[in-house]
């Protein structure tokens, strides 16, 4: 046993797979300790906040401000105020005004603005330009002027008793505060989802639930498959025929269809993570049964089994000590694959809206479902589904990698 562990860690595939899996597991264990609290707490009012650091504007006003003079500060403000379409329109105006095309650089905000200031004149009416277009240019110009106006902003707050506005302070363009001086700062590395929940916190929690579902589903499937396979293979005869009859029926009917039907027939309020896991486990034991049976069939006529029989051992003892250890490596690998297919099955089910009920626990599949229902892909909210997809892919990839690594350890012929 010790030897097998040692050998497994010599296989690069197993080591890579194991490291990825260990990283995911560690994150799952440590992150909730660093960021305690309900992962499904709706903190953001609004859907799909971008990933980033959110600083309280209110607290920023109270923080000590310092004056920093940056030469490109205004250009940056202007650049933010101009969309790509605005820049193209500005170039069109400049072209009409007679600026040669090679002098205009769309990327160079500073040059573009200085050309614009020089050549824009609201009283000019270029030929063929509609009134609407001219109005647009005027609005654009006003916006740009507003950005560059060297003003301070005065803050007022109403007096509690009289209702008169009192000046509380002024903010100049050159005022800066250190982010660490601001009292309330919230980092949302993956933004928020459609309900305004912290995506990262939710993802870590969902990862745990999905792994739990995979583990339970894989455990149930492997247990049933192993038990039926051992019985069918070793005892044989009528029992074998009976078990194989059922196994064949389940093989012919796609298990995912059964999974959908069972999930559909269980009421939404009854469908917790455990129920879903059990349902997945109960529909995916078929291939384990078939392959365990095949292995046992070849084992049961071996001499060491005959010797064990001749030594008067009972059926259960022969199965446990003379058959099971020989297929244990296979069962371990099948278990790993069952975990990963359990996680995938949950994701598929939840994507169809047949997963665990949606109010208490997040799962990876449910997060995909929410992202799909609230059209994250159309809104451009990539953070609502790409991290989830990546996590599912990483978990199944690491499990499969571990599986092939173990395969190489147990079947030396496969080593290249």
């Amino acid at each position: 046993m010790k030897n097998i562990f040692k050998q497994a860690f010599h296989s690069p595939r197993f080591v890579i797979g194991f490291s990825i899996f260990a990283c995911i597991l560690l994150t799952m264990l440590i992150y909730p300790l660093l960021m305690p609290g309900n992962p499904l707490e709706m903190i953001g009012l609004g859907t799909f906040f971008r990933p980033g650091t959110y600083v309280s504007v209110y607290d920023a006003l109270d923080a000590d401000s310092r004056t920093i003079k940056l030469s490109d500060a205004d250009d940056n403000r202007l650049a933010k105020a101009m969309s790509d379409a605005d820049r193209i329109s500005m170039m069109e105006w400049l072209a009409v005004a007679g600026v040669p095309a090679e002098d205009i650089d769309l990327r160079d905000t500073h040059g573009l603005i200085s050309l614009w200031k020089k050549y824009y004149d609201p009283s000019v009416r270029p030929e063929g330009m509609t009134k609407a277009k001219r109005n647009y240019y005027e609005r654009l110009n006003n916006r740009l002027v507003a950005v560059t106006r060297a003003d301070t902003i005065t803050m007022l707050s109403p007096d509690a008793e009289t209702g008169e506005m009192e000046e509380r302070g002024r903010v100049a363009k050159t005022d800066y505060v250190n982010v660490s001086d601001v009292t309330n700062v919230r980092r949302l590395p993956l933004g928020t989802d459609n309900f305004g929940r912290d995506m990262l916190k939710e993802l870590v929690s969902a990862c745990g639930t999905s792994l739990f579902i995979g583990l339970v589903a894989g455990g149930i499937a492997t247990f049933i498959g192993l038990l039926l396979g051992l019985l069918a293979g070793y005892i044989g005869g009528l029992l074998d025929d009976f078990i194989m009859f059922f196994t064949n029926i389940f093989t012919v009917i796609p298990s995912f269809v059964i999974l959908i039907l069972i999930s559909f027939s269980i009421d939404q309020s009854q469908r917790g993570a455990l129920t879903t896991a059990v349902v997945i486990g109960l529909t995916s034991w078929v291939w384990t049964t078939r392959s365990v049976r095949a292995q046992v069939l070849s084992l049961r006529n071996r001499d060491h089994v005959n010797l064990s029989k001749l030594s008067g051992h009972s059926l259960s003892r022969i199965v446990l000590t003379d058959i099971l250890p020989y297929i244990a490596s296979y069962v371990v690998m099948a278990f790993i694959l069952q975990i990963s297919s359990g996680i995938l099955a949950e994701a598929q089910l939840s994507l169809l809206g047949l997963g665990p009920k949606t109010t208490t626990t997040p799962t990876l599949g449910l997060m995909m479902n929410w992202a799909m229902l609230y059209s994250a892909h159309i809104n451009g909210a990539w953070w609502a589904y790409y991290p989830v997809i990546l996590t599912i892919a990483l978990i199944t990839f690491s499990l499969n990698l571990m599986n092939t690594g173990l395969d190489q350890v147990f079947n030396p012929q496969l080593r290249s």
Partner: protein
Amino acid sequence: MHEGSNRPTDNRPTENCPTEKRVCLSGTGVTKVFGAGSRKTVAVDHVDFSFNEGEMISIVGESGSGKTTLVKMLLGLTSVTDGDLYFMGKKRDIRTRRRKKAYWKGIQAIFQDPFSAYNIFKKIDSVLLDCVHMRGGRHLPHEEKIRMISEACGFVNLKYEELTNKYPFELSGGQMQRLMIARIFLLRPKILLADEPTSMIDACSRATILDMLMKLRAEEGMTIVFITHDLGLAYYVSDRLMIMEKGVIVEQGAADEVILNPQHPYTKQLLSDVPKLTEPW
């Protein structure tokens, strides 16, 4: 080998004591059929035989002649399609596990391939301890069990101290097969079925294994059924020969008779196929 001049005659108690000739295992019309319909294969076809106590019988035949199937049936590891088996004068009854266990106290086997005969996950000690337990020694003190095992190892020229806590793959093929004989020594069955026990072993160890089987018979009065494809070897060790071809026993009788005066053409062909040192091929 035709002359039979080099056969050892000293260790054959049965020839000297004809009164001991009690039948311990016999069968009539024993048949085994695999498959059904067009894929039907008759592995053993209505075989009649009887083994006497203390005898050494060889069943000789080429690969696929049904020797091993016959042994499996005799051991009760495979069901018998047709025919009756009699053990110690009574019809064999191994329908329950308890009766099977009792039957296996009287009949044991050594297999062809020592490398596959051991559970690779268990230490050697457990195999020998199982034998002590099977003989009813489960409640003996541990020292007594070790003493019995050491004695058995000594019988096959192995040292228990060197074997204990080892796994089967740490032994050589010859050592494994000798350990199988130590197992038989501990169990002391009435009948031993040795299914080609020397075919996977090198020539030096082969002689040792054969000597030990002879010793078992001489000391314990065990009936030994020796399965082999080597007619010369069979002639060397056994009192009686049974020649098997395609599931049928084509000729049986005393070893000298069968070898010196073969009746069936298959026996003659087998004899001519034995390689000889003095004649060209």
